[in-house]
């Protein structure tokens, strides 16, 4: 009995205390006390929370880093591939432009039949101005056939194998080409040199040759077809004491950048050496 009375009393007291505290809290009287009690708790929770978050970020960042690295590698590989493709396409474009120009040249000169060839090397000896092309007797190439580009005369075939041929350039020191100078129509001989420069010799003194005149093959001698452009006169040397005039020629073909050439396959050079009189012959 006594015990139940005491419990009831305790409950009532507790209820009063709770109600009192609630009333005090509602009245704002407990705020300093609350602040005092909550602050350490908030601080502790913030500290713990920030550490947990940092650990979480670290874990996530390492995952992201691996993904980013992987992605970076993929993109780098893609960039390399695209760059290689661009280079290949540029090369194809350049080849197409050259081939297109060569086709135009072939259309403009329908009297000849051509075989296109790539220049695959130069003579291993620096004394010789020759190039090696990737077409040979299997493609109908024969010794002596003239070689041109869309710009003009390159040289002629001097040696042939089944799949390759050697071309003597007109700038070779041993090369000589019979030419005609326009508009004077004077005949002369075009000579190569060690330095790769072209010069004209045997120009008659009576001929009127000027800077800027065009130099074309004359067809004389039977080694080259006529009317193939060779170059332009850049200087003329005329001395009264000499039998002939001389001139320097700027070739229209850039021999240092030969890539694709055309071989005129329906032109057969003539061997006129038996017709040239030799000393002592009857």
């Amino acid at each position: 009995m006594r015990t139940s009375t005491q419990r009831t009393l305790q409950t009532v007291v507790l209820a009063f205390i709770v109600l009192g505290l609630v009333a005090l809290a509602l009245g704002g009287y407990l705020r300093p006390l609350t602040r005092l009690l909550i602050n350490p708790f908030v601080f502790a929770q913030s500290w713990l929370s920030s550490r947990v978050q940092a650990i979480e970020n670290l874990a996530r960042a390492s995952q992201d880093l691996a993904v980013l690295r992987q992605r970076n590698l993929e993109l780098e590989a893609q960039v390399s591939q695209l760059q290689a493709e661009i280079i290949q396409l540029k090369q194809q474009l350049a080849e197409t432009e050259i081939l297109s120009a060569l086709v135009d040249f072939a259309r403009a000169h329908p009297d000849h039949r051509y075989v296109a060839a790539s220049v695959i090397g130069r003579d291993p000896s620096p004394f010789m101005k020759y190039v090696i092309i990737n077409r040979g007797s299997d493609d109908g190439i024969r010794r002596g056939m003239p070689v041109v580009t869309q710009q003009g005369l390159v040289g002629r075939v001097t040696a042939v194998t089944a799949v390759a041929a050697r071309v003597q350039l007109i700038i070779d020191p041993a090369s000589s080409v019979d030419i005609r100078i326009e508009p004077s129509r004077a005949q002369a001989v075009l000579l190569g040199s060690l330095t790769g420069e072209l010069s004209l010799d045997m120009i008659p003194q009576s001929a009127s040759v000027n800077v800027g005149d065009l130099v074309l093959t004359s067809g004389l001698g039977g080694n080259y077809p006529k009317d193939i452009l060779v170059g332009q006169v850049i200087t003329v040397r005329r001395r009264e004491t000499e039998l002939f005039q001389r001139a320097a020629v700027q070739p229209v073909v850039d021999f240092s950048r030969l890539e694709i050439v055309l071989i005129i396959i329906n032109f057969r050079p003539l061997d006129i050496s038996p017709l040239i009189p030799t000393p002592g012959a009857p």
């Binding site: 695959i120 090397g121 130069r122 003579d123 291993p124 000896s125 620096p126 004394f127 010789m128 020759y130 090696i132 001097t158 040696a159 050697r166 003597q168 070779d172 020191p173 041993a174 060690l194 330095t195 790769g196």
Partner: protein, 166 residues
């Protein structure tokens, strides 16, 4: 083995010289890789296949180049004679003999080419040829001499290992 290796190595060097090094000109000259290979190989002690390499080099160059066919063959054979002589005389200083051989070999090779062209009716003016072709080629050959010496020394050591007394 050394003889068998000669052909692919000389062929590869000829291709490199024709397709690549011929574009790297100094005036009108460019490095002669085949000459350097023949010299570097010929100067290696214990190497005996140097004559074979000279003949292979002469044939390949004679076939590839527009020079008269006999000129490279004769030139490389003379150069092997030179390297054999140097091997006996300057055996204690192989690098010195390499430089001497490259110097003399380049001049000798170009002299033979010059005479050969004159013989077949394509004479070259002497001084321009010397100034524009021979001297630049000589300079480039001397620059590459050390590299070739190193490569062919390794090749010789691999093909002719030194016998050790145990």
């Amino acid at each position: 083995m050394a003889f068998a290796l000669g052909f692919p190595i000389i062929a590869l060097l000829t291709i490199l010289q024709s397709a690549l090094f011929s574009h790297m000109q100094l005036y009108q000259g460019y490095a002669d890789l085949v000459l350097l290979a023949v010299i570097a190989w010929g100067l290696q002690p214990r190497v005996e296949a140097d004559w074979h390499w000279a003949v292979i080099a002469g044939l390949v160059m004679g076939f590839t180049s527009g020079l008269p066919f006999f000129a490279p063959v004769l030139g490389y054979l003379l150069i092997v004679s030179l390297t054999r002589g140097l091997r006996m005389i300057v055996w204690q200083s192989p690098m010195l003999s390499m430089f001497v051989a490259v110097f003399v070999g380049t001049l000798l090779m170009h002299a033979i080419d010059w005479v050969a062209l004159r013989l077949v009716g394509n004479p070259m003016p002497f001084l321009p040829a010397l100034q524009l072709i021979t001297l630049p080629t000589l300079f480039l050959n001397l620059l590459l001499a050390v590299i070739f010496w190193g490569i062919f020394q390794d090749l010789a050591n691999w093909l002719y290992p030194t016998e050790l007394m145990v």
